[in-house]
Amino acid sequence: MTAKKIPSFHYKNCVSCSICVQACPVGALDLTRPGKSGRYRNLFPELVNERCIGCALCAKSCPMECINMQAVYEGE
């Protein structure tokens, strides 16, 4: 099985600043995920296609430290 790392988001501290979206070199992220609590109706980042190359630039760029790279295996 081949392992690949993709971003895993911890939304509690996320401020929707889109720094991670713009850091992504392949356009794999966008602010499209609606917040759960709804008070501020924020949109949060998520993977929006299969282009992620696991480069971790999104995780490195996040000032709020909301992104970890998590291993996934093909077929998961």
């Binding site: 501290n13 929707s16 713009q22 992504c24 602010l31």
Partner: protein, 628 residues
């Protein structure tokens, strides 16, 4: 400078060529990037007397010195050029996601000269710079063109796009440049310059890393700010009472404020929170700057613009790049009966005030609709609103006839006529053609100059100089006159500049009447305000970060961390002063004399208003900005 790319892209649309120029480190040390780099480049390269709509004018798209370094609220892009509206220095500033995209293509700025013989757009990524045919996008509104350009350039990095609508294509002198579905760099007629070059759009899809001297230190500052913003809470439902707070504010003395105040309001409601406050406090001009709240049913108007009503239609919040605050939003406007659009950006306070209370229009839906029309066409809502208000006052006073207005009944509150007039201005059709170049030129043709609110040719922002004499100073002394974003008393009260600058006077509790005087202290306050504003523009930082004050938004710490420098506030205020001086020198080089710029008599309180919080106020503006 370790947070910059060290070079700019130069494009000559006449020759169809591109080139790269390295920028010496000393330039960044002297003026940073953003508006500073733009001023340095344009002062040097636009020949004196150049036609603003001719090939010698240069249109610059400038990113900020701190953009992309992890610095929060530093994602503004600035457009610079010689303004066709004033004939002097021109700039406009915008949020969205375009600013980091400039640097990710490898440049701090893109400077465009010449005129193409057919519609084109500029495309850049990591390895390519191409001038491409834009015939199929010409004629589309800015949002539609942006969507199609994004689709046609999809498949990898999300392209970020600056684009003009029909107003820019038609070289309206009050047109701007849009990104992200109608966010607009609106002022100074920058859209007309882009249209005159037949440049429909700039499409950027680079992914280069943006350098930073100490990314961990920058992140730590951002994390602290992000946590503070995330912890801001305000009880629900208070928006409906803001108008009452405005009545109190109108009677209160000027005073120091906590920097988090504007963040509280803007996080909850965005800038529309200011509309009811402005109507009742005296901050917002009413009835073409000619009435107090009591003369226009001010409380009823203020309740019509209750920001809670606007929030009820909000589908999602909108954050600009690197902003934790998120004062923007996308609104559902399917409930507006005459709208063919289903959504719009949350209008800024400026747009709400300009087409609402300034025109004595209490119909919120009409302003939401106008907001979308103007955003798509790429027309400046401040200039357009002042121009429409002038036309209404002229019509009401018999200076304009129904024949001249193509049959439009331009009466206070007639929003259907407002909408039709705006359509005509965008299309340059009939009477609208004469208004598409702003209120100065319209009043030159038709008269009614006493009702034409412009400062040096540019229509003023929606904050009343009689309520804030400091603002009156900046509107006149600013190289791009009429702008409301350089300095105000309320802003100075929130910034605590005396804590980073040895010569900036502390904000004090004092009577607003004291601000009418031409004193040494007022001169220093105005200088400090302008220097800090220019510094933030050089960094690429937002006006609302400026309003947070130096303790919440740690600008000096941010620059030192990102650039690898170790200077103090006095040093950086000098940088701000240098940027402002360069912009003034640009005007001097082009024969645009600062001493000839005056506030309209009405904005000086000559004659004074008869009612309301500004009753009896007359400015001593000419004494305050005397240049000899």
């Amino acid at each position: 400078m370790k947070s910059c790319m060290g070079k700019v892209l130069k494009v000559d649309l006449t020759a169809g060529t591109t080139a790269v120029e390295k920028i010496p480190d000393e330039v960044y040390e002297a003026v940073l990037s953003g508006k500073g780099l733009g001023a340095w480049y344009l002062y040097k390269n636009i020949p004196a007397g150049a036609d603003p709509l001719g090939p010698d004018n240069i249109l610059g798209f400038c990113s900020g010195a701190l953009t992309g370094t992890g610095t929060f609220m530093a994602g503004r892009w600035t457009v610079v050029c010689k303004s066709p509206l004033t004939g002097g220095w021109g700039d406009a500033n915008c949020g969205g996601v375009f600013s980091p995209a400039i640097k990710q293509c490898g440049y701090d700025a893109i400077f465009i000269s010449g005129i193409s013989d057919k519609p084109v757009y500029l495309y850049c990524n990591n390895s390519k710079v191409e001038i491409r045919d834009a015939s199929k996008y010409w004629g589309l509104d800015a949002t539609e063109a942006e969507n199609r350009l994004r689709e046609d350039n999809s498949g990898g990095k999300i392209p970020r796009i600056a684009v003009i609508g029909q107003a820019g294509e038609n070289v309206s002198l009050i047109s701007g440049i849009c990104n992200e579905g109608g966010r607009i760099a609106a002022r100074s007629g920058v859209g007309a310059v882009m249209g005159s070059k037949r440049l429909k759009a700039v499409v950027l899809a680079g992914s280069r890393p943006i350098p930073c001297a100490d990314p961990d230190a920058v992140k730590a500052l951002s994390k602290e700010l992000g946590r503070k913003v995330n912890n801001i809470k305000i009880p629900k439902g208070l928006g409906g009472a803001i108008w009452a707070a405005g009545i109190g504010m109108g009677k209160m003395p000027a005073m120091p404020l906590d920097g988090s105040m504007t963040s509280i309001l803007f996080r909850e409601w965005g800038t529309p929170s200011n509309t009811p406050l402005a109507i009742t406090s005296g901050d917002g001009p009413l009835k073409n700057w000619g009435a107090g709240p009591g003369e226009v049913h001010g409380i009823k108007l203020a309740m019509a613009y209750n920001p809670e009503k606007i929030n009820k239609t909000e589908e999602a919040k909108y954050h600009c790049y690197s902003c934790p605050l998120g004062c923007g939003g996308r609104l559902d406007i399917t409930g507006v009966p005459y709208s063919e659009f289903y959504e719009t950006h949350k209008p800024e306070y400026e747009t709400l005030q300009a087409f609402g209370p300034l025109c004595v229009n209490g119909d919120l839906g009409s302003v939401l609709y106008l907001n979308e029309i103007l955003n798509r066409a790429g027309m400046d809502s401040i200039s357009a609103g002042n121009t429409v208000a002038w036309a209404i006052e002229c019509y009401e006073n018999g200076i304009l006839t129904k024949e001249q207005t193509d049959g439009l009944e331009l009466k206070w509150g007639n929003y259907e006529a407002e909408i039709e007039l705006i359509r005509k201005m965008i299309a340059r059709e009939g009477f609208g053609n004469d208004l598409a170049d702003g209120v100065k030129r319209a009043s030159d043709k038709y008269g009614g100059k006493e009702y034409a609110m412009h400062v040096g040719g540019q229509e003023p922002g929606m904050h009343d100089t009689r309520n804030d004499p400091q603002l009156g100073i900046h509107m006149v002394a600013e190289p791009a006159p009429g702008k409301h974003t350089i300095g105000m008393a309320i802003q100075y009260g929130a910034m605590s500049l005396c804590d980073i600058c040895s010569w900036a006077p502390p904000a004090t509790i004092h009577s607003k009447k004291d601000d009418l005087e031409a004193t040494e202290e007022m001169a220093l306050i105005s200088k400090a305000n302008a220097c800090y504003s220019m510094l933030m523009d050089g960094m690429g930082s937002c006006y609302y970060a400026e309003m947070m004050g130096v303790h919440m938004y740690k600008a000096i710490e941010y620059i030192n961390a990102a650039a690898g420098w170790n200077y103090d506030g006095d040093h950086y205020m000098e940088v701000g002063a240098r940027i402002q001086t360069l912009r003034q020198l640009f005007n001097v080089k082009h024969g645009y004399e600062p001493s000839k710029v005056k506030l309209p008599k009405r904005m000086q309180g000559m004659p004074p208003l008869r009612t309301g919080p500004l009753k009896g106020v007359t400015l001593k503006n000419e004494e305050q900005v005397a240049t000899d």
